[in-house]
């Protein structure tokens, strides 16, 4: 461990480290001498501030990062299981929220929207459905201001899975195009299915 690193470590303790130094330090984070010094510095500071604990000498950082790696690996192994598992949690939260909403939001009026063209004059006595977020937040109606004007935040027109090959993307597009005819005949949405076609054709080119 160099003097330069010791200096950087000390600067980090004092919250005066610059970004470049920080990166160098992080690159060398596995170095046991560096870790030992970092631990000593922290213990010393804790002792000075009088908030030292009986467990201060135990370094759990490696165990934590190992556990995180494990999690990533098992997540990769079974994406289907993971998706369904996370759904189960989300669904239970949603259910709880919906139950809550039924009780509390029996009289909701539509909030004014800043998108004037988007909204009609609220009609008296019309009860609008409450809407939920999976995180457990509740939206009073479909037309809630912060979200309704924000058409899906992703910036791409066609979003694809990470590391999808151009070959797979081409095929997926072709299937989306083929599917349009079934939508036209089986959902009564008039011209909408074919309006979706343009970008698909462009991607397919």
């Amino acid at each position: 461990m160099s003097d330069k690193q010791a200096e950087s470590l000390s600067a980090l303790m004092d919250n005066e480290i610059n970004e470049l130094e920080m990166h160098r330090l992080l690159k060398d984070i596995e170095n046991p001498e560096l870790r030992a010094r970092w631990s000593r510095y922290n213990m010393a500071r804790a002792a000075i501030r009088n908030d030292i604990s009986a467990f201060s000498h135990i370094d759990i950082s490696l165990a934590v990062s190992e556990a995180i790696d494990q999690e990533r690996l098992s997540g990769k192994a079974k994406p289907w299981v993971r998706a369904i598992g996370s759904f189960a949690v989300a669904a239970s939260v949603t259910l709880a929220v919906l139950v809550g909403v039924r009780v509390y939001n029996t009289q909701i009026t539509e909030p004014d929207s800043s998108l004037a063209a988007n909204e009609s004059v609220p009609v008296q006595g019309v009860e609008l459905p409450a809407y939920t977020l999976q995180q457990g937040q509740t939206y009073a109606s479909f037309s809630d201001k912060p979200r309704a004007n924000n058409i899906q935040r992703n910036q791409q027109v066609v979003r694809v899975s990470p590391q999808v090959s151009p070959y797979a993307q081409q095929r997926l597009n072709d299937f989306m195009l083929r599917h349009v005819e079934q939508v036209t005949l089986n959902a009564n949405l008039g011209v909408i299915p074919y309006a979706r076609v343009k970008e698909l054709q462009e991607v397919a080119k």
Binding site: P129, T132, V158, S161, R178, V183, V191
Partner: protein, 344 residues
């Protein structure tokens, strides 16, 4: 005497016009009647107009001409932005209503039950998987529209806010929302003319190479079904561990290849099956607006079979449907059976 006669006529006329307006008023206060009206109008009414379609950061404008001639639908869609493009849909009989489209019609429930029995799938009333309600009136494209909300009862489908023209029943605006209430796509007319004669010249293609779709050619005639099973198509051995409720199987089409499609009346998903020679890098998914397509290979020994699920549904549903797909082939490896068929 003639005065009495005139009075009687007046009374009859009044009673008649009152009953008509009462009827149309009743239609506009019953969301199911409105959906029924919309379902018919989108196919049966002659109209032209300009509309926009947007999702994520994309927004485009199109012009449409839709007519019914000799009982057949004809439609031209012209893109107003970018490269000139035109899609012509034609040839589908207006009275040929596919199963999915029937779900939003208030025809006799029995017809739909029979369809479900015939084609399989889980028949349920539209109201059991969407909460359907009226949400007042608004003005869209200079016309009076009635707003109908279809809020999904589960997380397996999207929700919709539809603004339906109170006069013709045409869909003037549609917003598709995910379970968090975020907008996935928005469609909206800015100009619409309906119920006026449409000149023949408006039906002429105006771009050099229009895409022409000869729509809805069926494959479910008895002869074709027979020849299909003789060919031992993969699709004949397809089964699902799980389907979102309310989705019924719909008619197959020539254009679709080895596939099945299901609809709940608002959303449709299709499952495509193929034997793929080059399976490396074939898996993945793509999303555009509310539509997701996902491809995966089946497990050994069917790992050269790729299943692709496409639908206007949440990833949750698409993944679950895809994960639950089985091919119950009676013969051992697919490759071997395909090979022996070819050699004969």
């Amino acid at each position: 005497m003639s005065r009495l006669y005139a009075l009687a006529m007046l009374l009859i006329w009044l009673a008649f016009s009152f009953s008509v307006s009462a009827q149309s008023a009743a239609q506009n206060t019953d969301p199911l009647a409105l959906l029924d009206k919309m379902s018919r109008a989108s196919r049966e009414v002659d109209y032209f107009g300009v509309f926009s379609y947007e999702h994520s950061v994309n927004n485009q404008t199109l012009r449409v001409v839709h007519v019914v001639r000799d009982g057949l639908e004809f439609e031209r869609l012209i893109h107003m932005d970018g490269e000139p493009r035109e899609v012509i849909r034609k040839g589908h009989p207006v009275d040929c209503v596919h199963s999915g489209a029937r779900l939003t019609r208030s025809d006799s429930v029995q017809i739909r039950r029979n369809l479900a029995e015939r084609f399989g799938g889980d028949y349920q009333e539209l109201q059991s998987y969407y909460q359907i309600s009226l949400a007042g009136q608004e003005r869209v494209a200079g016309r009076l529209a009635v707003k109908v909300m279809l809020r999904a009862n589960d997380d397996y489908r999207h929700s919709y806010i539809l603004s339906i023209d109170s006069n013709t029943g045409l869909l003037l605006r549609s917003i598709m929302l995910d379970s968090a209430g975020a907008i996935l796509e928005r469609f909206q007319f800015s100009l619409l003319a309906a119920g006026i004669p449409i000149e023949a010249e408006m039906l002429q293609a105006e771009t050099a190479n229009p895409v022409i779709v000869q729509e809805g050619r069926h494959t479910d005639s008895a002869v074709e079904i027979e020849s299909q099973s003789q060919q031992k198509l993969l699709v004949n051995y397809l089964s699902f561990d799980w389907l979102p409720r309310g989705f019924i199987k719909v008619e197959n089409l020539k254009s679709q290849g080895e596939s099945v499609s299901y609809s709940d009346g608002m959303a449709v998903f299709s499952v495509y099956l193929e034997r793929v020679a080059d399976v490396a890098g074939v898996e993945g998914w793509a999303q555009q607006g509310g539509t997701i397509a996902l491809s995966r290979r089946l497990a050994e020994p069917l790992n050269e079979v790729v299943v692709t699920v496409v639908g206007e549904m949440p990833m949750l549903s698409i993944e679950r449907i895809s994960a639950g797909i089985n091919l119950n082939l009676p013969l051992t490896p697919v490759g071997a059976s395909a090979g022996s068929e070819e050699s004969q």
